[in-house]
Amino acid sequence: MRIIPHLKLFLILILLSILIFFLDNARFLQLPKTALSYITTPIQFGLYSSGQTISRQFYFIFAARFAAKENKALQEQLAQIISENAKLRRDLSETQSLLEQQKTLDPRVYNLVAARPIGLDRYLKIDKGFKDGVKESQAVVFKDNFLGKVIKVTEKTSSVELLTDPDSKLSAFSINKNGKAKGILAGQFGSEILMDKILHEESIEKGDLVYSEGTEGFLPRGLILGSVVEVLEKETQIFKQAKIKPVFDIRDLELVFLMQE
C-alpha cells in the first residue's frame, strides 16, 4: 500500500497550479479569462439578483422585529421625555407663582419663602422646616390670600393650621358699598369657615371679601381670608353670622409662601 496515494497525479497538479499562477501573473491568460467571463458574469448576475429578490421577500420579517425593538426603545424615550416635560411645566408654574406673588405682596416689605405642599389631611404639610428658617406661628399666604398658620415645625417639614381648622380663630372684617362689618373668623369641622360676632347693624352681603384685621400679630392687616357665601341672620340672635369660603382651593396650589418677617 502506498504511503502517499496518487503521488504522481498530485505532483503534476501542484506543478500545473504553480505554472498557471505564474502565467496569470505574467498576464498570458487574459484572453481566455475575458472569454470565460462572457459566460460566467451573466450567471453570477442572475444568481445575485435572484438572491436579492428572495431576501427582499423576507425582509419584512426582519424589519418587523427591528421595528418592534425600535418601538419599545421609542416608548421608553417618550415616557422619559413626558416625565421631563411634566417636571419643566411644574418648575415653570412655580416660577410664575413666585413672580405673581412678588407683584401682590411687595418683597421689600415682606420676606417670603416659597414652599411646596406635600400633604393634606387636617393640617397642610409643606416641605420647609426649621433648617429653612421656618418658625411656629408664621403666616402662610398665596398672593394676598392668607391660608393658615404654622403650628408644628420639624427639620425639613412643617404643618400649617388652615382657616377651616376648628382651632383657628382670627379677627376679620369685610367691606362693601354699604359699610364695614367686623367679626371673628372660626373654622368649622369639614371645609367651612364661619364669621361670627357680626353686629346686626353692620352690613355684610354675599360676595363680599373678608380681610384680616392683623391684631393677632403674626399676620398683617388686609390679607384676604375668603368671600361670603351666605349670611345667617336671626332676629332672636344677638349677632349674625356669615359662611365664608376661601378664594383658593388649597388642593390647586403648587406653591405657597411663608411670611418670615
Binding site: 500500500m1 504511503i3 502517499i4 496515494p5 496518487h6 497525479l9 498530485f10 497538479l13 501542484i14 500545473l16 497550479s17 504553480i18 505554472l19 498557471i20 499562477f21 505564474f22 502565467l23 496569470d24 501573473n25 491568460l29 479569462k33 470565460l36 460566467t40 450567471i43 453570477q44 444568481l47 445575485y48 438572491g51
Partner: protein, 148 residues
C-alpha cells in the same frame, strides 16, 4: 459523477454570489474522506481554478490549496481512527480554518475566523450524510458484481 460536477459548479457560483462559505471545499474534502479516489484531486484542481476565476483572485492559488488539502485528507484517511467522528470533525475544521487563514495572511488583513468557521462546522455533518446517502443510493459502483 456528472451530477456531482454540475452540483459543484453550481455551488461555486452560489459560494461567490450568495453564501460566502467554502461550500465547494467542504463537499470535496468530505467526499475525499468518504471515497479517497484520484477523481477528487481532479475535481479539486479544476474547481479551485474556477473559484479563483470567479473571485477574481490569481489563478492557481485555490487549485493549489484544494489539491493539497484533498491529498492530506486522503493520506490521513488511511489511519484506523480517521473515520471516528471525534477525529474527523476536528480535522475538517482544521482544513477549513487553514483555508480561511491563508488568504487573509497573504493579503495582510486581520485574521478573523468567526463566524464563518462556525457556520461551516455546522454544515459538516449534514453534508457528510448527504454525500454518503447520495453515493450509496444513486451512484453505480463498478465494484458491484452480480453472482449467478
Amino acid at each position: 459523477m456528472k451530477t456531482l460536477i454540475v452540483v459543484l459548479i453550481l455551488l461555486s457560483f452560489i459560494q461567490v454570489t450568495l453564501v460566502p462559505l467554502n461550500l465547494v471545499l467542504l463537499v470535496l474534502i468530505l467526499r475525499a474522506y468518504l471515497y479517497p479516489e484520484k477523481i477528487n484531486l481532479y475535481l479539486g484542481f479544476f474547481l479551485g481554478l474556477l473559484i479563483s476565476f470567479l473571485e477574481s483572485q490569481a489563478l492557481g492559488v485555490y487549485s493549489l490549496a484544494y489539491v493539497v488539502f484533498i491529498q492530506s485528507i486522503q493520506m490521513f484517511r488511511k489511519a484506523q481512527f480517521a473515520m471516528h467522528y471525534f477525529v474527523m470533525i476536528p480535522s475538517i475544521v482544521l482544513i477549513l480554518s487553514l483555508n480561511l487563514i491563508f488568504p487573509q495572511a497573504v493579503s495582510g488583513s486581520t485574521i478573523n475566523l468567526w463566524p464563518d468557521i462556525l457556520k461551516e462546522t455546522l454544515l459538516i455533518i449534514p453534508v457528510f450524510f448527504i454525500i454518503k446517502v447520495w453515493e450509496e443510493r444513486f451512484v453505480v459502483k463498478p465494484e458491484v458484481k452480480i453472482r449467478f
